[in-house]
């Protein structure tokens, strides 16, 4: 299993933001995505997750192998913690939520409606969703927002267990998770407004 990204270019709102993005992520590996705010980390992750088509380049792995963890957790405030998680487990056909509840210390909150959770607890529930997807590659967008130190450690342990089991993770984050991880800085891949490569598929390409 290997996620190989080659010469990828992505756009946001019709503007190319990244070009020439190339990296490989193999089983058992964690790759940390770095770059300043607005540099295109979210756009890159959305593209890899299959939510938007790339302008150019190839991704070796189909979106079906990827579990995407976005900024928003997609929680329903009137459903309980267990119901929220159970829903995603059923959607992904795994159906099993006990381990995920345990790993993120949610078991005692199981019956509580999501509306009564703190921001950190909501985030933990959102991350627990990754465990019930059963998918090998995790794409995470700022997963530690609103988490306290103990929860960050809990999350890092979950990632460690996931990659030890043959999975892989690509994480966009600014903090040090204490993981054995390679770092990929996308600052170097910023699309050059005047280069042709970034403008494939953009409207004014035909004017050049």
């Amino acid at each position: 299993m290997e996620l190989a990204v080659e010469n990828l270019a992505v756009s946001r709102g019709g503007v190319p933001v990244l070009e020439g993005v190339s990296f490989t992520l193999t089983a058992g590996q964690v790759l940390i995505l770095r770059g300043p705010n607005g540099s295109g980390k979210t756009t890159l992750l959305r593209c890899l997750a299959g939510l938007q088509p790339p302008l150019a380049g190839t991704v070796s792995m189909p979106p079906e192998a990827i579990a995407y963890g976005a900024h928003a957790d997609g929680l329903k405030s009137t459903l309980s913690v267990a119901e929220n998680l159970k829903f995603w487990a059923n959607i992904y056909g795994t159906g099993e939520i006990t381990r995920a509840m345990n790993d993120f210390n949610l078991t005692h909150l199981g019956a509580r409606p999501a509306t009564n959770l703190s921001a950190g607890q909501k985030r933990r529930l959102g991350l627990a969703r990754l465990l019930v997807t059963g998918r090998p590659v995790w794409l995470l967008d700022e997963p530690t927002v609103a988490l306290d130190q103990a929860s960050v450690k809990m999350f890092a342990d979950a990632v460690r267990a996931h990659v030890a089991g043959g999975g892989a993770a690509l994480i966009a984050t600014h903090i040090d998770l204490g993981l054995e991880a390679a770092i990929f800085d996308i600052g170097a891949c910023r699309a050059d407004p005047d280069s042709g490569a970034a403008l494939v598929g953009a409207f004014d390409e035909a004017f050049e």
């Binding site: 019709g14 503007v15 190319p16 407004p193 409207f203």
Partner: protein, 246 residues
């Protein structure tokens, strides 16, 4: 590679070609339309059973025909955009919508003006009239969606999907309206069968007016599409600018 029609879907080629063609098309439009309308208005006799009001057909019939044809043209160009991603194509559809809407309004208003002396009422829920009212709503919806979506490519995709689905439902509405009106006014028909009533004396200038309206549409479409291409170009440049700054 041999020259093909698709080359003119390239904005640069389109702008170059349309700039050359536009003056000629404009001249031809003025010539045809003026000749046709003057011939129709002043050099045809008043019909026995219609009086002079019959002369409004020289505007009514061509505008009604164009109202439908323009929607069909929008459907075709929208499909071309969805399949081949040619920007000029979808911008032409966007430009055509307002012209189509105007044609529909002209057809409706001239129809009402004509309806008053003929039928004794400005409005009747005749299948044809009702269909045009529904078509008017479809044009409005299509244009409103273009106006509401910010990202131009997203807007192009969404309006094209709407145009496809809308075409099916517009056709369905046409049949539904026919059926519905029969149900309401059995036996009493207010509609005029144009083909039967029009004799050669009226038909020749009418043909010229039809040609004139087609040309008028082409002229307006070229002008509007040219400005849409420019506007799109400006948007693209602004985006680049913003990206270079941020």
């Amino acid at each position: 590679m041999p020259m093909s029609l698709w080359q003119y879907a390239n904005p640069v080629k389109f702008m170059a070609l349309s700039a050359k063609v536009l003056p000629w098309v404009t001249g031809l439009t003025v010539l045809t339309l003026v000749t046709g309308l003057i011939w129709g208005f002043f050099f045809t006799p008043g019909a026995v059973n219609f009086g002079t009001s019959v002369k409004i057909i020289y505007i009514h019939v061509p505008s009604a025909m164009m109202a439908i044809n323009i929607w069909i043209m929008m459907l075709v160009t929208s499909l071309v955009w969805l399949i081949r991603r040619h920007h000029v194509s979808v911008l032409a559809a966007k430009s055509a919508a307002l012209i189509g809407l105007t044609m529909t309004i002209i057809a409706l208003i001239t129809g009402m003006i004509w309806g008053q002396p003929m039928w004794g009422t400005y409005w009747a829920w005749d299948p044809r009239l009702t269909s045009f009212l529904v078509l008017f709503l479809f044009y409005l919806g299509y244009m409103a969606l273009w106006a509401a979506v910010e990202n131009p490519d997203t807007a192009a995709d969404l309006t094209s999907v709407l145009c496809m689905v809308g075409s099916v439902f517009a056709l369905l509405s046409r049949y539904a309206v026919n059926f519905w009106n029969q149900g309401l006014h059995q036996g009493a028909s207010l509609s005029l069968d144009k083909e039967e009533n029009v004799s050669d004396v009226y038909f020749q200038p009418l043909l010229l007016c039809l040609a004139g309206f087609v040309l008028l549409f082409v002229t307006l479409l070229l002008i509007r599409t040219r400005s849409e291409v420019r506007r799109r170009r400006v948007q693209a440049l602004e985006m680049r600018e913003r990206m270079a700054d941020g």
